[in-house]
């Protein structure tokens, strides 16, 4: 048993976020509702993210099982939470000017982002099926509301409703799966599960109940990371939600859900690895294929990025299907690159404004190079990184997951991954083609949105060939994180 101080320390960032949430609610209620409230709460939440990040970095990440094993701290949680906080912070910054422009600047919004982020941190750190569910629901419920943020827009409301209904089903499945596993093993703790399952199975094949539990659990998780065949909500929600909110959806929650996915199958269910390997293998394969082909005819950049994210989750799941520490490091590394590149890409989408308002039509980008050369360059950089073109950041991500698959002799998976990358190259290139080869049609409006521009520049530098500079450090971090699992 560890002392109170260690417990509090392990949950340091979350405690800051929780206290901050309470304080913001009070602030929101007490303060006279003026136009400034939104800005102030946003600033406060941003400061909380920074404070949580500092605490996260300062607290030594020696593996700790806090609160009787309900809560875990190790290099993996630190790495993933750092990504989550960076992603949320970037999304929050981009949201402010966007929402003000859209007249949607209510103070509850940064608060919901904060709550979602708190949920994500809990997901990453969960050491038991109960903590997992609390974190996941806290995150999901906040996201449902955020998706339906634009109350007067039918498409946004529809996105919120769709997300809620399907998400609730997925949560139900996950809960049902958890209960079956609990019924089999009599515990919800990941570490106890990992210890007892081999003994309970005793060399026999797992029974139907346990397999059902596993399948339901994985289905719920697959929904959250939007892996095929549980991806249907992604394009609609991405398209319907206000763009800045979509940027948030596509970044931090994906990382947190993937972290949870990794944690539960490696820390709790290593005994079932022959079973989950097959499932994840199939999900990875299908996601890559769907992501590559379904994005091709999309006229909306948001839908295109949605399908592209499905494909990218497929590549990340490749590493998970292998399940060795090196492969998990590859997945973690991949998610880090994916998150930063996606945020950057959405920062570009946020800059797509014409006289008639915001647009997400790819055609609106035509001739962008003439009107806004730097925006076009940044966008091209993100597309090449998502394509996995050397020496852009995405290439190195793919390199490591390919390596993981080949090392595990999953040659078919690697070949499919390579071929789908070539197919996906078509639609990424099409965007570059539209920006660079086509004639200027209707110039996009100039933007004074400095925060988004800063995020865009920072992530463009990250995604560009200059990535080589941060590569070794990031890879070391991912490796250290992955070693602490399983």
């Amino acid at each position: 048993m560890i002392g109170a101080v260690e417990n509090w320390q392990a949950a340091g960032p979350e405690i800051i976020l929780t206290l901050g949430t309470l304080a913001s609610i009070v602030l929101g209620v007490v303060a006279v509702p003026t136009n400034g409230t939104f800005t102030r709460v946003t600033g406060f939440v941003g400061a909380l993210f920074i404070a949580a990040f500092v605490v996260l970095i300062v607290v030594p990440s020696a593996p700790t099982a806090a609160f009787g094993g309900l809560y875990v701290l190790d290099p993996f949680t630190t790495f993933m939470k750092a990504l989550v906080l960076i992603g949320s912070f970037a999304a929050l910054i981009m949201m402010r000017p966007f929402l003000e422009r859209k007249k949607l600047h209510r103070f509850e919004i940064p608060l919901l982002v904060l709550l979602a982020t708190l949920g994500m941190c809990i997901m990453v750190s969960s050491g038991s099926l109960l903590t997992l569910y609390i974190g996941l629901e806290l995150q999901s419920l906040s996201l449902y509301v955020l998706a339906a943020l634009d109350r007067d827009s039918r498409i946004s409301t529809e996105a919120g409703l769709k997300y809620f209904v399907l998400g609730a089903v997925a949560s139900g499945m996950l809960l049902f799966g958890s209960s079956l596993i609990y019924g089999f093993a009599g515990t919800t703790s990941f570490s106890v599960l990992a210890e007892q399952l081999p003994a309970l199975l005793d060399g026999r094949l797992p029974g139907v109940g346990l397999i059902f539990g596993l399948v339901f659990l994985l289905a719920g998780l697959a929904f959250k990371v939007s892996a095929v065949p549980f991806h249907m909500w992604t394009p609609d929600v991405y398209e319907g939600a206000p763009t800045a909110v979509t940027a948030f959806f596509a970044s931090a929650p994906k990382v947190a859900s993937m972290a949870l996915f990794i944690r539960i199958i490696l820390d709790a269910l290593p005994a079932l690895s022959p079973q989950w390997t097959q499932i994840i293998y199939a999900m990875a394969l299908l996601s890559m294929v769907l992501g590559a082909f379904a994005a091709i005819p999309q006229p909306s950049i948001k839908r295109l990025l949605a399908y592209s994210s499905i494909g990218h989750v497929g590549y990340a799941l490749m590493g998970l299907a292998v399940g060795t520490p090196e492969a998990i490091a590859a997945t973690t590394f991949y998610m880090a690159i994916y998150m930063v590149t996606t945020i950057g890409a959405f920062a570009c989408v946020l800059a797509m404004r014409t006289d008639t308002g915001d647009t997400d039509q790819i055609e609106a980008l035509s001739g962008l190079r003439q009107a806004r050369p730097w925006l076009a360059l940044a966008f091209a950089c993100f597309m090449l990184s998502l394509l996995g073109f050397p020496p852009f950041a995405g290439f190195f991500g793919k390199l490591f997951v390919f390596q993981a698959a080949i090392e595990a002799d999953m040659i078919l998976l690697a070949v499919v991954a390579a071929l789908t990358s070539a197919v996906a190259a078509y639609y990424y290139l099409r965007i570059i083609k539209i920006m660079y080869f086509d004639d200027l049609d209707q110039p996009l409006l100039g933007s004074d949105d400095r925060p988004s521009a800063l995020i865009m520049i920072a992530s463009a530098v990250f995604a560009s060939p200059l990535f080589v500079i941060v590569w070794p450090a990031l890879w070391d971090g991912a490796q250290a994180a992955a070693k602490s699992l399983g």
């Binding site: 050397p390 390199l399 390596q403 070949v415 190259a425 290139l429 070794p472």
Partner: protein
Amino acid sequence: MIEHLLTLLLVLPVAGSVFLVTTPTNHPASDENARRTALVTTLFTFALSLLLWFGYDKAEAGFQFVERVDVIPGFFSYHLGVDGISILLILLSTFLMPICILASWTAIKTRVREYMIAFLIMETLMIGVFSALDMFLFYVFFEGGLVPMFLIIGVWGGARRIYASFKFFLYTLTGSLLMLLAMIYMVVTAGTSDIPTLLTYDFDPSVQTWLWLAFFASFAVKMPMWPVHTWLPDAHVEAPTAGSVILAGVLLKMGGYGFIRFSLPMFPDASHDLAILVFIMSIVAVVYTSLVALVQEDMKKLIAYSSVAHMGFVTVGLFTFNQQGLEGSIFQMLSHGVVSGALFLCVGVVYDRLHTRMIERYGGLVNIMPHYALVFMIFTMASVGLPGTSGFVGEFLVLVGAYQSGSWVAFGAALGVILGAGYMLWRLYKNVVFGQLEKDDLKAMLDLSMREWIVFAPLIALVMWMGIYPKPFLEFIEQPVETLITQTERNQTSNEVAR
């Protein structure tokens, strides 16, 4: 000799392009500045690369000018080095580059700055391909070249530029991704991505075949070999003149270089087993594409098909595994780089004046453009392989080498020489240059300008030099080819004993 010469060569063009990025675009003289900066940068790079020529020790085996920094040990290192083969290919790249810039001097009028930046970055990537000694570093340079070329074709190309640029990109990328998988497999089994170490690693013969095929997918597309050559005519036709020169002159050589650096020495068993496949594909390429060239109406397309045929020669020579064949192939690659580049420039000269590439629109140019007719004649002859030009040496050596592999191989390849004379002289040269000057719009055509002479003079000199006195060039490749032959034979002896 200068320390870090190769790094300097890689950095110099990028530095030029960074300088161009920082210059203002709206200035009236900015186009002119961009051209001059690019020209100075490429000339300086060429001058610097000459140090490789003089500083290389031809007698010593192995790589020279080596530089190495480990980024991730065992997985990725910044490892550079050159042998005689790569030096000649680097020199070919740096030599063609200023010529390309000069050739685009007046032809490119829009987005001049971006055009020059694309070419300078292209130059860095080309030098990188020929000097990388780490597999992943090689891959980065090899693939990286796609984007500048994609932009060069797509932005400054002809009417069907978008189709051509996508075709070029997607063909090459698909092949390369399979190669990437093979590379990863090799790193996983051998535990290193270091090329010199991998050259001595013996892969299991059954695995070799698969690895060889994966690499073949990439190099055959790049080369290009029949039947995956179809991107080339499109890309050539749509690319601006200088783009075609670089495409034919250097990018195609990356395929041949890949065979020399990877397929032959790393998978000797598979190479010997599958040589027959390469021979058949090459001979089909030589005969079929020559026949296709014979009926082309577009000059650039004709030269593009002739490139496929000439590259067929190169692959035949490479897979003979003997001194003459290999030296001939490498020589043919160099010669083709210069000659086909020059031929595209010749087309560019008349295209700039009349804005058409259709053979039927020309005729009788000798009457009004005698200088042009002479220059065009020299390169046509070099392409056909007239003794005294560079084309002859390569073809002759390849045929000598091919006889040792089987007379049918030599016979098939030799058909290409005959057909080559047909399409180059009868179809192209006769119809464009000879005959009566009948068409009115041709009568106002001006002969070569001073700038064009400056472009062609070094090419003519090089073609003659390589044809009349090829010894200095062959000296460079002699030692590396001997090493290559020992590498390709290393497992054969033990296998024969086992049998």
